[in-house]
Symmetry: none
Subunit: 85 residues, 4 copies
Amino acid sequence: MTREPAYRQLARTLRNALVQGRYRDGVRLPTEAELADEYKVSRQTVRRAFHDLVADGLVHRVRGRGTFATHATAVTCASSARSTT
Amino acid sequence: MTREPAYRQLARTLRNALVQGRYRDGVRLPTEAELADEYKVSRQTVRRAFHDLVADGLVHRVRGRGTFATHATAVTCASSARSTT
Amino acid sequence: MTREPAYRQLARTLRNALVQGRYRDGVRLPTEAELADEYKVSRQTVRRAFHDLVADGLVHRVRGRGTFATHATAVTCASSARSTT
Amino acid sequence: MTREPAYRQLARTLRNALVQGRYRDGVRLPTEAELADEYKVSRQTVRRAFHDLVADGLVHRVRGRGTFATHATAVTCASSARSTT
DNA sequence: GTGGTCTAGACCACT
DNA sequence: GTGGTCTAGACCACT
């Protein structure tokens, strides 16, 4: 009955926020540390969640700068496949 | 007739601004690069001017962070001596 | 005059501790974050100090695990060259 | 997998240029700012690349003046150790 | 106007 | 939760 991993749960939460239009355009999302703090999870969990969102094409990450919302137009077929999981 | 060096001129300008209460408290002043640009002088000149203001006790500088106005109460005898030059 | 940089000062402090036999054998040293906190410097400055100690052969670092004192016997020619600086 | 860091990539590029005989003798290389601009990296990343080349004995740097190609004859044991990495 | 040091704070890779 | 890389942008030391 393996229940949903924490990172998928967090990914779902963030995906909803992104799809609903929070963090429009190239807006920077909260940092790994902030999200880890807010959701009481490890940074590793946040990273895994973000990793999924990158694969979804919903965000992109820039070393040393942050994680940014990707324009809605850039959604690929990979993301639709994934979101049905 | 050696005329006033550029750095003393700039120091005087900044001193006036500081004494008149601009940059109150611990406010950060413009950076070396910004002042060099604004006054059309080299950064070396800005540095010399700031060096005088540090000696006056009007500003203090923090490596990697910036130059900050010092509280008016911290004025020492060194600054009064210097300001009569 | 060129005063001693903060990272060299810290390296010297740690080197003394290591040479005097604290952190014997493969003992783990404080983390970058801890030292940054204790010595009121940035993590990068701690890293520069550690970098020197690695070159000296006094410590070795393992990603994800920490920084460890190296056995005294492992001193190399590189370290002797450096210590004469 | 641990992909090659940007600074090592840049170091490799510059090493190739140096070994192939561009920047002969004591010729000055581009400045940190110029390379940062050209390769779209931060100045610190350029510095890390140069740091490796200094360790290789391929260049030497003089504060206030620039970075210079070192004569090929000055190769030391430290550099040969490094180049096998 | 160059290289040297330093900060604050991101993400990355590994454990 | 550690060390590794990277950014952007300050001031410092030297020429």
